[in-house]
């Protein structure tokens, strides 16, 4: 199995992959150029009367302070994407490193690491996330850095377990035995033989995790443990505007649609990717 078929011709890729890639591209463009596209500065008050529904001037309406919700949504895109991706990347990198090495080494260290992983996994992830935020203390609470850390910490043990499973499978293969016979060290085997062969699974896993990260961040905001207003993060905006849900539904559904399309785009992308790689990942 080749690791990543990046060179595969575009036309031959699955439809889902192309659709997903296109949706993601739109999101990235909006996230980067959002502030220039936005009709108003995101924090500007009284751009219209407070709590107004759809109008041409305000496609997502206005909030209690008369801010334009469409402008806020545009301003929030890069936050959602940056937090989700960086949190997932960190969790992924550390988790994969621990899992792959543990699986390659085997023996007692592997046993201890995996017991610890199991123990952490036994704590429901939302409660685990809330515990981390509480432990960080008031100084850090609500900061984006902490949220990235939380996403990473939640994903780390899950990815470590998965990577280890892949590694223990791979180390029994002939080419690894051959490498051992050639006298290659454990570290070198993990890096040269195990990692490339596990990267397909890990890539799919990455896309799935990155798609759930913004949902997790939004839920944390709902419970009062996440980012805090006036940060225009979508999940947080939905939480912040939920009181107005029946009076001004677009305040909630506007950011909701954006978040859903991002996650769905990632989902399609993943589906296409896994079809190309012949592997699939599970979301949790």
């Amino acid at each position: 199995m080749t690791a990543i078929p990046v060179t595969g011709r575009w036309q031959r890729t699955p439809v889902a992959f192309r659709l997903g890639a296109a949706m993601l591209a739109v999101h990235v463009v909006l996230a980067v150029f959002g502030p220039w596209i936005a009709p108003y500065p995101q924090a500007m008050m009284m751009t219209g009367p407070p709590v107004q529904g759809f109008s041409l001037a305000h496609p997502f309406g206005t909030d209690q302070l008369g801010r334009d919700i469409w402008s806020r949504v545009l301003a929030g895109g890069w936050i959602v994407i940056t937090l989700s991706i960086s949190g997932t990347v960190i969790g992924m990198a550390l988790g994969a490193a621990i899992g792959l090495i543990s699986g390659t080494i085997g023996g007692r260290i592997d046993e201890v690491l995996m017991r610890l992983t199991e123990a952490v996994l036994a704590i429901p992830f939302l409660i685990f996330a809330l515990l981390i935020v509480s432990l960080a203390g008031p100084g850090l609470q609500g900061s984006p850095v902490l949220l990235i850390g939380v996403v990473a910490a939640v994903y780390l043990p899950r990815i470590a377990r998965m990577a280890r499973a892949a590694a223990t499978d791979i180390v029994t293969r002939d080419y690894v035995l051959a490498a051992r016979l050639r006298g290659e060290g454990t570290w070198s085997i993990a890096r040269r033989e195990v990692l490339p062969n596990a990267s397909g699974v890990l890539l799919v896993e990455f896309a799935v995790r990155a798609g759930y990260a913004p949902v997790l961040i939004g839920t944390m905001g709902f419970l009062g443990f996440g980012l805090r207003p006036p940060t225009p993060e979508w999940g947080l905006m939905m939480a912040e505007y939920r009181n107005l849900m029946t009076a001004q539904p677009m305040a909630v559904f506007g950011p909701g649609l954006m978040l859903a399309s991002l996650v769905i785009g990632l989902g399609f992308f993943t589906e296409g990717l896994s079809a190309m790689l012949g592997k699939r990942g599970s979301l949790r």
């Binding site: 123990a119 036994a122 992830f125 939302l126 409660i127 008031p138 949902v215 978040l259």
Partner: protein, 317 residues
Amino acid sequence: MSFLHLILTRIAASTLTLVLVSMIIFGAVQGLPGDAAARILGREASETAKDRLRQEMNLDAPLVRRYLDWAGGVLQGDLGKSFSGQKPVTEQLLPRLKNTLALAGIALLLYVPLSILPAMMQARHPDRRLDRTLSALTVLILSTPEFLFATLLLFGLAVWLPLFPPIVQLSSGMGWGAWLHALFLPSLTLAILMATYGTRLLRESLIEILQSDHVLLAELKGLSESRILWRHVLPNALIPWMNATALNVAFMIGGVVVVEKVFGFPGFGSMLVDALQMRDLPVISAGVLVAATLFVLANLAADLGALLVNPRLRVKS
């Protein structure tokens, strides 16, 4: 080795996990910053009252000593005394846990058909309209934050279509019918949230098995489609589904926090979040430990269930 030996090994491993969990939790909880007395009593509380509460809490003994005391207590069913309620934690926790287990139980019952039936319908004719629609719906629910989904169901089935009470009010004299009626909506919410994962996974396993040789053989033998699906394909897809269900239980223990908040349900999850915010350390430690225990038990059950369903696993291990 023998089947019994296998089971005992699993149980021993689970116990070890739980001991580790208890250490992690206790250490983490003791490290929580913030003045519990000030948080519990509110801003207009007098210094006298706060000092009195701080004395009650007794946080002076060394850490290891306190851990051993606590763990010893836990083994004897004593989870300590709640800071905020000034009562044994068990008195506060058990009724809440009972409620949440009831909620989760109903949710699990609903989850079984909600995850199996759509997957069967989808796998039967993959990539047709029904399959596409259900897949799209699944992904849409997956990408909606839980609190929003719960709120939408709340307005949908309690306000616009007033089938169920919007908030859960439990009372002791409540009949079974009323009780079930009160719990149905939050349970349904939880079940749907869980089912989206189960369905996705089950659909893929079903399709994979449908394409395998022995199914083709069955088709050649002229067995009816539904017979093949129910008798041959489904049982084989159940093991990954059961593992997913065990993982879902872990999600449920977390996700229940959100559902309980939206439906005003007097449950274990909302108690845990309140305790975290008030720094009610004994309640937090006990609550997280109970949650972890439930998870470990669910996994153990899934493991043992897999052994029972598929005897080949017994030999393999």
